[in-house]
Protein backbone atom coordinates (compact mmCIF):
# COMPACT_ATOMS: atom_id res chain seq x y z
CA UNK A 1 0.00 0.00 0.00
CA UNK A 2 1.74 3.16 -1.05
CA UNK A 3 -0.89 5.75 -0.53
CA UNK A 4 1.51 8.65 -0.26
CA UNK A 5 2.46 8.72 -3.93
CA UNK A 6 -0.72 10.28 -5.24
CA UNK A 7 -2.68 12.72 -3.14
CA UNK A 8 -6.13 11.26 -2.67
CA UNK A 9 -9.49 12.91 -2.62
CA UNK A 10 -11.13 12.98 0.76
CA UNK A 11 -13.75 10.32 1.24
CA UNK A 12 -16.53 11.05 3.72
CA UNK A 13 -17.81 7.88 5.30
CA UNK A 14 -20.53 6.75 7.69
CA UNK A 15 -20.79 3.32 9.25
CA UNK A 16 -23.72 1.34 10.60
CA UNK A 17 -23.72 -1.79 12.70
CA UNK A 18 -25.65 -2.88 15.74
CA UNK A 19 -22.55 -4.15 17.53
CA UNK A 20 -20.64 -1.44 19.37
CA UNK A 21 -17.48 -3.54 19.42
CA UNK A 22 -17.51 -3.98 15.67
CA UNK A 23 -18.18 -0.28 15.08
CA UNK A 24 -15.33 0.52 17.39
CA UNK A 25 -12.96 -1.75 15.50
CA UNK A 26 -14.07 -0.26 12.22
CA UNK A 27 -13.60 3.27 13.52
CA UNK A 28 -10.08 2.58 14.63
CA UNK A 29 -9.23 0.88 11.37
CA UNK A 30 -10.43 3.91 9.40
CA UNK A 31 -8.85 6.44 11.77
CA UNK A 32 -5.35 5.80 10.48
CA UNK A 33 -6.33 6.56 6.89
CA UNK A 34 -5.51 10.11 5.87
CA UNK A 35 -8.10 10.42 3.14
CA UNK A 36 -11.00 8.84 5.01
CA UNK A 37 -13.18 10.91 7.32
CA UNK A 38 -15.74 9.30 9.51
CA UNK A 39 -18.81 11.49 9.70
CA UNK A 40 -20.76 9.39 12.14
CA UNK A 41 -22.08 5.99 13.10
CA UNK A 42 -25.48 4.37 13.35
CA UNK A 43 -26.73 1.33 15.23
CA UNK A 44 -29.60 0.38 12.90
CA UNK A 45 -31.14 1.12 9.53
CA UNK A 46 -33.41 3.90 10.74
CA UNK A 47 -30.55 5.76 12.38
CA UNK A 48 -28.52 5.24 9.24
CA UNK A 49 -31.13 6.85 7.00
CA UNK A 50 -31.35 9.81 9.34
CA UNK A 51 -27.58 10.16 9.48
CA UNK A 52 -27.26 9.87 5.71
CA UNK A 53 -29.73 12.73 5.23
CA UNK A 54 -27.94 14.91 7.74
CA UNK A 55 -24.35 14.31 6.73
CA UNK A 56 -24.51 13.49 3.02
CA UNK A 57 -21.62 11.00 2.86
CA UNK A 58 -19.68 9.66 -0.13
CA UNK A 59 -19.54 6.10 1.11
CA UNK A 60 -21.64 4.12 3.55
CA UNK A 61 -20.44 0.93 5.19
CA UNK A 62 -23.42 -0.84 6.61
CA UNK A 63 -24.19 -4.12 8.27
CA UNK A 64 -26.88 -6.02 6.38
CA UNK A 65 -28.70 -7.57 9.32
CA UNK A 66 -29.66 -5.05 11.95
CA UNK A 67 -32.54 -4.60 14.35
CA UNK A 68 -35.34 -2.07 13.71
CA UNK A 69 -34.48 -1.81 10.01
CA UNK A 70 -32.03 -3.93 8.04
CA UNK A 71 -29.33 -2.68 5.70
CA UNK A 72 -31.23 -3.77 2.61
CA UNK A 73 -34.28 -1.58 3.27
CA UNK A 74 -32.06 1.27 4.42
CA UNK A 75 -30.03 1.02 1.20
CA UNK A 76 -33.14 1.24 -0.97
CA UNK A 77 -34.44 4.23 0.97
CA UNK A 78 -31.14 6.10 0.90
CA UNK A 79 -30.59 5.53 -2.80
CA UNK A 80 -34.07 6.90 -3.56
CA UNK A 81 -33.06 10.30 -2.26
CA UNK A 82 -29.30 10.27 -2.82
CA UNK A 83 -28.44 7.99 -5.73
CA UNK A 84 -24.83 9.18 -5.75
CA UNK A 85 -23.78 7.58 -2.51
CA UNK A 86 -21.81 4.34 -2.74
CA UNK A 87 -22.95 1.71 -0.29
CA UNK A 88 -20.96 -1.31 0.84
CA UNK A 89 -22.72 -4.11 2.71
CA UNK A 90 -21.09 -5.84 5.62
CA UNK A 91 -22.06 -9.34 6.58
CA UNK A 92 -21.02 -12.43 8.41
CA UNK A 93 -19.61 -15.15 6.19
CA UNK A 94 -22.57 -17.34 5.26
CA UNK A 95 -25.14 -14.70 4.59
CA UNK A 96 -24.96 -15.25 0.84
CA UNK A 97 -28.65 -14.73 0.28
CA UNK A 98 -28.62 -11.41 2.09
CA UNK A 99 -25.54 -10.25 0.24
CA UNK A 100 -27.29 -10.83 -3.06
CA UNK A 101 -30.36 -8.95 -1.80
CA UNK A 102 -28.09 -6.13 -0.72
CA UNK A 103 -26.50 -5.87 -4.17
CA UNK A 104 -29.90 -6.00 -5.83
CA UNK A 105 -30.99 -3.20 -3.53
CA UNK A 106 -28.23 -1.05 -5.03
CA UNK A 107 -25.10 -1.61 -2.96
CA UNK A 108 -21.88 -1.29 -4.94
CA UNK A 109 -20.00 -3.93 -3.04
CA UNK A 110 -19.84 -6.09 0.04
CA UNK A 111 -17.34 -7.20 2.62
CA UNK A 112 -17.33 -10.08 4.98
CA UNK A 113 -16.87 -8.92 8.52
CA UNK A 114 -13.72 -10.91 8.97
CA UNK A 115 -12.08 -8.96 6.15
CA UNK A 116 -8.71 -7.39 6.89
CA UNK A 117 -8.31 -3.73 7.51
CA UNK A 118 -6.48 -3.29 4.20
CA UNK A 119 -9.35 -4.85 2.31
CA UNK A 120 -11.88 -2.58 3.95
CA UNK A 121 -9.83 0.45 2.93
CA UNK A 122 -9.50 -0.99 -0.55
CA UNK A 123 -13.26 -1.47 -0.82
CA UNK A 124 -13.99 2.10 0.30
CA UNK A 125 -11.58 3.53 -2.25
CA UNK A 126 -12.92 1.30 -5.03
CA UNK A 127 -16.58 2.13 -4.67
CA UNK A 128 -15.72 5.80 -4.19
CA UNK A 129 -14.14 5.69 -7.64
CA UNK A 130 -17.21 4.11 -9.14
CA UNK A 131 -15.98 0.54 -9.20
CA UNK A 132 -17.67 -2.51 -7.74
CA UNK A 133 -16.18 -4.40 -4.88
CA UNK A 134 -16.54 -8.10 -4.21
CA UNK A 135 -14.92 -9.40 -1.05
CA UNK A 136 -11.77 -11.48 -1.49
CA UNK A 137 -13.22 -14.31 0.55
CA UNK A 138 -16.18 -14.80 -1.75
CA UNK A 139 -17.20 -18.45 -1.90
CA UNK A 140 -17.97 -20.07 -5.22
CA UNK A 141 -21.58 -20.47 -4.14
CA UNK A 142 -21.87 -16.76 -3.54
CA UNK A 143 -20.13 -15.96 -6.83
CA UNK A 144 -22.67 -18.14 -8.60
CA UNK A 145 -25.56 -16.51 -6.82
CA UNK A 146 -24.32 -13.03 -7.67
CA UNK A 147 -23.64 -13.84 -11.31
CA UNK A 148 -27.14 -15.19 -11.80
CA UNK A 149 -28.83 -12.46 -9.77
CA UNK A 150 -30.47 -9.31 -11.03
CA UNK A 151 -27.40 -7.40 -9.90
CA UNK A 152 -25.62 -6.52 -13.14
CA UNK A 153 -24.38 -2.95 -13.13
CA UNK A 154 -21.53 -3.52 -15.60
CA UNK A 155 -21.57 -1.39 -18.65
CA UNK A 156 -22.08 -3.84 -21.45
CA UNK A 157 -21.16 -1.40 -24.20
CA UNK A 158 -18.13 -3.12 -25.59
CA UNK A 159 -17.90 -6.86 -25.74
CA UNK A 160 -14.80 -8.18 -24.06
CA UNK A 161 -12.51 -10.19 -26.32
CA UNK A 162 -10.35 -12.87 -24.75
CA UNK A 163 -7.57 -14.94 -26.23
CA UNK A 164 -7.75 -18.74 -26.00
CA UNK A 165 -5.01 -18.69 -23.41
CA UNK A 166 -6.85 -16.15 -21.31
CA UNK A 167 -10.04 -18.17 -21.36
CA UNK A 168 -8.05 -21.23 -20.34
CA UNK A 169 -6.55 -19.31 -17.43
CA UNK A 170 -9.91 -17.82 -16.41
CA UNK A 171 -11.33 -21.31 -16.16
CA UNK A 172 -8.48 -22.45 -13.96
CA UNK A 173 -8.88 -19.38 -11.78
CA UNK A 174 -12.53 -20.30 -11.36
CA UNK A 175 -11.38 -23.69 -10.16
CA UNK A 176 -9.52 -21.89 -7.42
CA UNK A 177 -6.04 -22.72 -8.69
CA UNK A 178 -3.22 -20.39 -7.68
CA UNK A 179 -0.95 -18.71 -10.22
CA UNK A 180 1.71 -21.29 -9.45
CA UNK A 181 -0.63 -24.21 -9.98
CA UNK A 182 -1.90 -22.72 -13.22
CA UNK A 183 1.67 -22.23 -14.39
CA UNK A 184 2.50 -25.86 -13.71
CA UNK A 185 -0.61 -27.08 -15.42
CA UNK A 186 -0.07 -25.05 -18.56
CA UNK A 187 3.72 -25.37 -18.66
CA UNK A 188 4.18 -21.63 -18.34
CA UNK A 189 6.24 -19.57 -15.95
CA UNK A 190 4.46 -18.11 -12.94
CA UNK A 191 5.43 -14.65 -14.19
CA UNK A 192 3.66 -15.25 -17.48
CA UNK A 193 0.51 -16.39 -15.67
CA UNK A 194 0.66 -13.32 -13.45
CA UNK A 195 0.85 -11.17 -16.57
CA UNK A 196 -2.17 -12.88 -18.10
CA UNK A 197 -4.07 -12.54 -14.85
CA UNK A 198 -3.46 -8.80 -14.73
CA UNK A 199 -4.60 -8.47 -18.33
CA UNK A 200 -7.75 -10.43 -17.56
CA UNK A 201 -8.46 -8.36 -14.47
CA UNK A 202 -8.06 -5.20 -16.51
CA UNK A 203 -10.41 -6.40 -19.23
CA UNK A 204 -13.01 -7.47 -16.70
CA UNK A 205 -12.59 -4.41 -14.47
CA UNK A 206 -12.09 -6.85 -11.65
CA UNK A 207 -10.32 -6.00 -8.44
CA UNK A 208 -9.53 -9.53 -7.35
CA UNK A 209 -10.18 -13.20 -7.98
CA UNK A 210 -13.77 -12.93 -6.78
CA UNK A 211 -14.39 -10.31 -9.46
CA UNK A 212 -12.89 -12.54 -12.15
CA UNK A 213 -14.98 -15.53 -11.11
CA UNK A 214 -18.23 -13.56 -11.02
CA UNK A 215 -17.52 -11.99 -14.40
CA UNK A 216 -16.53 -15.33 -15.92
CA UNK A 217 -19.72 -16.93 -14.67
CA UNK A 218 -21.79 -14.09 -16.01
CA UNK A 219 -20.14 -14.26 -19.43
CA UNK A 220 -20.54 -18.02 -19.49
CA UNK A 221 -16.80 -18.63 -19.70
CA UNK A 222 -17.13 -21.13 -16.90
CA UNK A 223 -19.95 -23.11 -15.45
Amino acid sequence: MNRIATPKADIRVIIADDHAIFRDGLKQALASEENIFLLGEAADGKELIQLAIESNPDVILTDIRMPVMDGISATKKILETSPGVSIVGLSMFDDEAHIVDMLEAGARGYLLKNADKSEIIDAINSVFHGELYYCKHTSFTLAKMISSSKFNPHKRKDKIEFTEREIEIVQLICEQLTNKEIAEKLYLSTRTVEGHRLKIQEKMHAKNTAGIVICALRLGLYN
Partner: protein, 287 residues
Amino acid sequence: MLLYDKYLRSTKNLYSGNDDLFASVYCSNVLPSAEKSPIEPLLIAASVLGIILLYFIASLIRHQRRNVKLNQEKIEAEIITLENERRRIAADLHDEVGPMLSGIKLMISSLEVENDSDRDRIIKVKEYIDDSIKRMREISNNLLPAVLEKRGILEALQQLFVEYQKIHGIMIQFSYDENISLSSQRQLHLYRIIQEILHNTIKHAHAKILRVELLMNNKNISLYTEDNGGGFDKLDRSNKGKGLGMRNLHSRAELLSGNLYIESAPSKGTRITLNFPNHEQDSHTKS
Protein backbone atom coordinates in the same frame (compact mmCIF):
# COMPACT_ATOMS: atom_id res chain seq x y z
CA MET B 1 -72.89 -31.93 18.63
CA LEU B 2 -75.31 -33.29 16.13
CA LEU B 3 -73.37 -36.47 15.90
CA TYR B 4 -73.29 -36.87 19.62
CA ASP B 5 -77.06 -36.50 19.87
CA LYS B 6 -77.53 -39.13 17.26
CA TYR B 7 -75.22 -41.40 19.11
CA LEU B 8 -77.12 -40.96 22.34
CA ARG B 9 -80.38 -41.69 20.67
CA SER B 10 -79.13 -44.81 19.02
CA THR B 11 -77.61 -46.13 22.22
CA LYS B 12 -80.84 -45.45 24.03
CA ASN B 13 -82.70 -47.49 21.46
CA LEU B 14 -80.22 -50.23 21.88
CA TYR B 15 -80.69 -50.33 25.62
CA SER B 16 -84.42 -50.20 25.56
CA GLY B 17 -84.54 -52.87 22.90
CA ASN B 18 -82.37 -55.08 24.96
CA ASP B 19 -84.31 -54.79 28.18
CA ASP B 20 -86.22 -58.02 27.71
CA LEU B 21 -83.14 -59.78 26.58
CA PHE B 22 -81.34 -58.92 29.75
CA ALA B 23 -84.24 -60.09 31.78
CA SER B 24 -84.38 -63.42 30.04
CA VAL B 25 -80.68 -64.00 30.38
CA TYR B 26 -80.92 -63.19 34.04
CA CYS B 27 -83.78 -65.61 34.50
CA SER B 28 -82.15 -68.43 32.69
CA ASN B 29 -79.15 -67.97 34.90
CA VAL B 30 -81.07 -67.97 38.08
CA LEU B 31 -83.57 -70.68 37.41
CA PRO B 32 -81.33 -73.64 36.64
CA SER B 33 -79.07 -72.87 39.55
CA ALA B 34 -81.72 -74.40 41.81
CA GLU B 35 -80.65 -77.92 40.77
CA LYS B 36 -76.90 -77.75 41.22
CA SER B 37 -74.68 -79.75 38.90
CA PRO B 38 -70.93 -79.71 39.70
CA ILE B 39 -69.84 -78.49 36.28
CA GLU B 40 -71.86 -75.31 36.12
CA PRO B 41 -70.15 -73.27 38.83
CA LEU B 42 -66.87 -74.23 37.23
CA LEU B 43 -68.13 -73.05 33.87
CA ILE B 44 -69.32 -69.80 35.35
CA ALA B 45 -66.07 -69.31 37.16
CA ALA B 46 -64.15 -70.10 33.98
CA SER B 47 -66.16 -67.66 31.89
CA VAL B 48 -65.88 -64.96 34.53
CA LEU B 49 -62.18 -65.57 34.66
CA GLY B 50 -62.09 -65.52 30.88
CA ILE B 51 -63.87 -62.20 30.78
CA ILE B 52 -61.58 -60.76 33.38
CA LEU B 53 -58.59 -62.06 31.47
CA LEU B 54 -59.89 -60.64 28.22
CA TYR B 55 -60.52 -57.32 29.84
CA PHE B 56 -57.06 -57.44 31.32
CA ILE B 57 -55.41 -58.21 28.00
CA ALA B 58 -57.45 -55.54 26.24
CA SER B 59 -56.48 -52.91 28.74
CA LEU B 60 -52.89 -54.08 28.57
CA ILE B 61 -52.90 -53.57 24.80
CA ARG B 62 -54.59 -50.22 25.20
CA HIS B 63 -52.02 -49.26 27.77
CA GLN B 64 -49.18 -50.41 25.58
CA ARG B 65 -50.56 -48.44 22.66
CA ARG B 66 -50.89 -45.37 24.78
CA ASN B 67 -47.37 -45.84 26.00
CA VAL B 68 -46.02 -46.09 22.48
CA LYS B 69 -47.95 -42.98 21.55
CA LEU B 70 -46.79 -41.12 24.63
CA ASN B 71 -43.25 -42.21 23.99
CA GLN B 72 -43.46 -41.04 20.41
CA GLU B 73 -44.87 -37.73 21.58
CA LYS B 74 -42.05 -37.46 24.07
CA ILE B 75 -39.44 -38.04 21.39
CA GLU B 76 -41.14 -35.52 19.15
CA ALA B 77 -41.24 -32.95 21.91
CA GLU B 78 -37.58 -33.66 22.56
CA ILE B 79 -36.73 -33.09 18.92
CA ILE B 80 -38.61 -29.83 18.81
CA THR B 81 -36.97 -28.55 22.00
CA LEU B 82 -33.61 -29.63 20.65
CA GLU B 83 -34.13 -27.77 17.40
CA ASN B 84 -35.24 -24.61 19.17
CA GLU B 85 -32.16 -24.69 21.36
CA ARG B 86 -29.94 -25.30 18.36
CA ARG B 87 -31.48 -22.39 16.53
CA ARG B 88 -30.95 -20.09 19.47
CA ILE B 89 -27.33 -21.07 20.00
CA ALA B 90 -26.50 -20.88 16.30
CA ALA B 91 -28.05 -17.44 16.04
CA ASP B 92 -26.27 -16.17 19.13
CA LEU B 93 -22.93 -17.40 17.88
CA HIS B 94 -23.45 -16.03 14.43
CA ASP B 95 -25.02 -12.72 15.32
CA GLU B 96 -23.27 -11.83 18.56
CA VAL B 97 -19.91 -13.52 18.86
CA GLY B 98 -18.98 -13.21 15.18
CA PRO B 99 -19.11 -9.40 14.93
CA MET B 100 -17.37 -9.08 18.29
CA LEU B 101 -14.43 -11.17 17.19
CA SER B 102 -14.29 -9.28 13.91
CA GLY B 103 -14.30 -5.97 15.77
CA ILE B 104 -11.49 -7.12 18.02
CA LYS B 105 -9.49 -8.19 14.99
CA LEU B 106 -9.87 -4.77 13.41
CA MET B 107 -8.77 -3.08 16.60
CA ILE B 108 -5.68 -5.25 16.79
CA SER B 109 -4.91 -4.47 13.15
CA SER B 110 -4.89 -0.79 13.83
CA LEU B 111 -2.24 -1.05 16.52
CA GLU B 112 0.95 0.52 15.37
CA VAL B 113 4.07 -0.86 16.93
CA GLU B 114 7.77 -0.26 16.32
CA ASN B 115 9.02 -3.50 17.67
CA ASP B 116 9.36 -6.45 15.26
CA SER B 117 8.44 -9.10 17.76
CA ASP B 118 5.33 -7.16 18.73
CA ARG B 119 4.40 -6.95 15.10
CA ASP B 120 4.77 -10.71 14.79
CA ARG B 121 2.65 -11.13 17.84
CA ILE B 122 -0.09 -8.99 16.33
CA ILE B 123 -0.04 -11.10 13.19
CA LYS B 124 -0.29 -14.24 15.32
CA VAL B 125 -3.22 -12.86 17.30
CA LYS B 126 -4.99 -11.96 14.07
CA GLU B 127 -4.52 -15.48 12.82
CA TYR B 128 -5.90 -16.86 16.04
CA ILE B 129 -8.93 -14.65 15.81
CA ASP B 130 -9.44 -15.77 12.22
CA ASP B 131 -9.26 -19.40 13.33
CA SER B 132 -11.77 -18.72 16.09
CA ILE B 133 -14.15 -17.09 13.63
CA LYS B 134 -13.78 -19.99 11.23
CA ARG B 135 -14.42 -22.53 13.95
CA MET B 136 -17.38 -20.55 15.23
CA ARG B 137 -18.80 -20.54 11.74
CA GLU B 138 -18.53 -24.30 11.46
CA ILE B 139 -20.17 -24.82 14.82
CA SER B 140 -22.99 -22.43 14.05
CA ASN B 141 -23.58 -23.97 10.66
CA ASN B 142 -23.63 -27.48 12.05
CA LEU B 143 -26.23 -26.42 14.56
CA LEU B 144 -28.47 -24.91 11.95
CA PRO B 145 -27.58 -23.94 8.40
CA ALA B 146 -28.61 -20.33 7.93
CA VAL B 147 -29.47 -20.86 4.27
CA LEU B 148 -32.23 -23.34 5.15
CA GLU B 149 -34.56 -20.72 6.57
CA LYS B 150 -33.60 -18.04 4.10
CA ARG B 151 -33.59 -19.87 0.81
CA GLY B 152 -35.34 -23.10 1.54
CA ILE B 153 -34.43 -26.73 1.57
CA LEU B 154 -33.33 -27.11 -2.04
CA GLU B 155 -30.58 -24.53 -1.80
CA ALA B 156 -29.60 -25.70 1.66
CA LEU B 157 -29.19 -29.22 0.32
CA GLN B 158 -27.21 -28.05 -2.67
CA GLN B 159 -24.81 -26.22 -0.38
CA LEU B 160 -24.57 -29.20 1.93
CA PHE B 161 -23.78 -31.52 -0.97
CA VAL B 162 -21.20 -29.20 -2.52
CA GLU B 163 -19.44 -29.00 0.81
CA TYR B 164 -19.52 -32.73 1.44
CA GLN B 165 -18.30 -33.55 -2.03
CA LYS B 166 -15.37 -31.23 -1.47
CA ILE B 167 -14.48 -32.47 2.01
CA HIS B 168 -15.22 -36.16 1.71
CA GLY B 169 -14.66 -36.82 -1.97
CA ILE B 170 -18.00 -38.55 -2.41
CA MET B 171 -20.05 -37.92 -5.51
CA ILE B 172 -23.59 -36.83 -4.80
CA GLN B 173 -26.14 -36.86 -7.59
CA PHE B 174 -29.05 -34.71 -6.58
CA SER B 175 -32.21 -34.44 -8.58
CA TYR B 176 -35.27 -32.65 -7.36
CA ASP B 177 -38.56 -31.06 -8.21
CA GLU B 178 -38.10 -27.31 -8.18
CA ASN B 179 -41.62 -26.70 -6.94
CA ILE B 180 -41.08 -28.34 -3.60
CA SER B 181 -41.72 -25.95 -0.78
CA LEU B 182 -42.41 -26.81 2.83
CA SER B 183 -43.13 -25.04 6.08
CA SER B 184 -39.99 -24.22 8.00
CA GLN B 185 -40.62 -26.91 10.62
CA ARG B 186 -41.19 -29.59 8.03
CA GLN B 187 -38.29 -28.69 5.82
CA LEU B 188 -36.06 -28.80 8.87
CA HIS B 189 -37.15 -32.37 9.59
CA LEU B 190 -36.57 -33.36 5.99
CA TYR B 191 -33.19 -31.64 6.02
CA ARG B 192 -32.15 -33.47 9.18
CA ILE B 193 -33.27 -36.78 7.70
CA ILE B 194 -31.16 -36.23 4.60
CA GLN B 195 -28.28 -34.96 6.71
CA GLU B 196 -28.33 -38.13 8.81
CA ILE B 197 -28.48 -40.32 5.71
CA LEU B 198 -25.52 -38.40 4.32
CA HIS B 199 -23.60 -38.72 7.61
CA ASN B 200 -24.25 -42.44 7.71
CA THR B 201 -23.20 -42.84 4.09
CA ILE B 202 -19.91 -41.07 4.81
CA LYS B 203 -19.35 -42.73 8.17
CA HIS B 204 -20.41 -46.31 7.49
CA ALA B 205 -21.02 -47.02 3.83
CA HIS B 206 -17.69 -45.92 2.31
CA ALA B 207 -19.64 -45.28 -0.84
CA LYS B 208 -18.38 -43.52 -3.93
CA ILE B 209 -21.76 -42.30 -5.07
CA LEU B 210 -24.85 -41.22 -3.24
CA ARG B 211 -27.97 -40.54 -5.24
CA VAL B 212 -30.62 -38.30 -3.72
CA GLU B 213 -34.00 -37.73 -5.34
CA LEU B 214 -36.65 -35.42 -4.05
CA LEU B 215 -39.88 -35.67 -5.98
CA MET B 216 -43.37 -34.40 -5.66
CA ASN B 217 -46.77 -35.23 -6.98
CA ASN B 218 -49.86 -33.33 -5.98
CA LYS B 219 -50.35 -35.33 -2.79
CA ASN B 220 -46.98 -36.64 -1.72
CA ILE B 221 -43.36 -35.75 -1.47
CA SER B 222 -40.94 -38.60 -1.76
CA LEU B 223 -37.33 -38.84 -0.87
CA TYR B 224 -35.29 -41.60 -2.39
CA THR B 225 -31.62 -42.17 -1.61
CA GLU B 226 -29.27 -44.83 -2.78
CA ASP B 227 -25.60 -45.40 -2.03
CA ASN B 228 -23.24 -47.90 -3.61
CA GLY B 229 -21.41 -48.62 -0.37
CA GLY B 230 -21.02 -51.53 2.04
CA GLY B 231 -24.61 -51.72 3.25
CA PHE B 232 -25.55 -53.37 6.52
CA ASP B 233 -27.66 -56.10 8.01
CA LYS B 234 -30.78 -54.47 9.40
CA LEU B 235 -31.46 -57.48 11.61
CA ASP B 236 -27.95 -57.61 13.01
CA ARG B 237 -28.35 -56.72 16.66
CA SER B 238 -24.90 -55.24 16.91
CA ASN B 239 -26.13 -52.41 14.71
CA LYS B 240 -29.09 -51.71 16.93
CA GLY B 241 -28.85 -49.21 19.72
CA LYS B 242 -25.46 -48.08 18.50
CA GLY B 243 -26.42 -44.59 17.58
CA LEU B 244 -29.30 -42.21 17.71
CA GLY B 245 -29.29 -41.60 13.97
CA MET B 246 -31.72 -44.25 12.88
CA ARG B 247 -34.03 -43.67 15.84
CA ASN B 248 -34.25 -39.99 14.97
CA LEU B 249 -34.76 -40.84 11.33
CA HIS B 250 -37.92 -42.74 12.26
CA SER B 251 -39.15 -40.10 14.69
CA ARG B 252 -38.71 -37.37 12.14
CA ALA B 253 -40.45 -39.44 9.51
CA GLU B 254 -43.28 -39.78 12.02
CA LEU B 255 -43.32 -36.03 12.53
CA LEU B 256 -43.82 -35.65 8.79
CA SER B 257 -46.64 -38.24 8.93
CA GLY B 258 -44.54 -40.21 6.53
CA ASN B 259 -43.55 -43.79 5.78
CA LEU B 260 -39.91 -44.73 5.92
CA TYR B 261 -38.46 -47.80 4.23
CA ILE B 262 -34.87 -48.84 4.65
CA GLU B 263 -33.50 -51.45 2.38
CA SER B 264 -29.95 -52.66 2.88
CA ALA B 265 -27.81 -55.75 2.85
CA PRO B 266 -24.10 -56.31 3.31
CA SER B 267 -22.18 -55.29 0.19
CA LYS B 268 -25.45 -54.38 -1.55
CA GLY B 269 -25.59 -50.69 -0.67
CA THR B 270 -28.41 -48.92 1.08
CA ARG B 271 -31.66 -47.56 -0.29
CA ILE B 272 -33.95 -45.39 1.74
CA THR B 273 -37.41 -44.23 0.74
CA LEU B 274 -39.55 -41.74 2.56
CA ASN B 275 -43.03 -40.75 1.47
CA PHE B 276 -44.96 -38.08 3.23
CA PRO B 277 -48.01 -35.96 2.46
CA ASN B 278 -47.37 -32.66 0.77
CA HIS B 279 -49.58 -30.79 3.16
CA GLU B 280 -49.59 -30.86 6.88
CA GLN B 281 -52.00 -33.33 8.38
CA ASP B 282 -53.95 -33.11 11.60
CA SER B 283 -52.74 -36.47 12.80
CA HIS B 284 -50.37 -34.83 15.22
CA THR B 285 -52.64 -32.45 16.93
CA LYS B 286 -53.00 -33.18 20.61
CA SER B 287 -55.79 -35.58 21.47
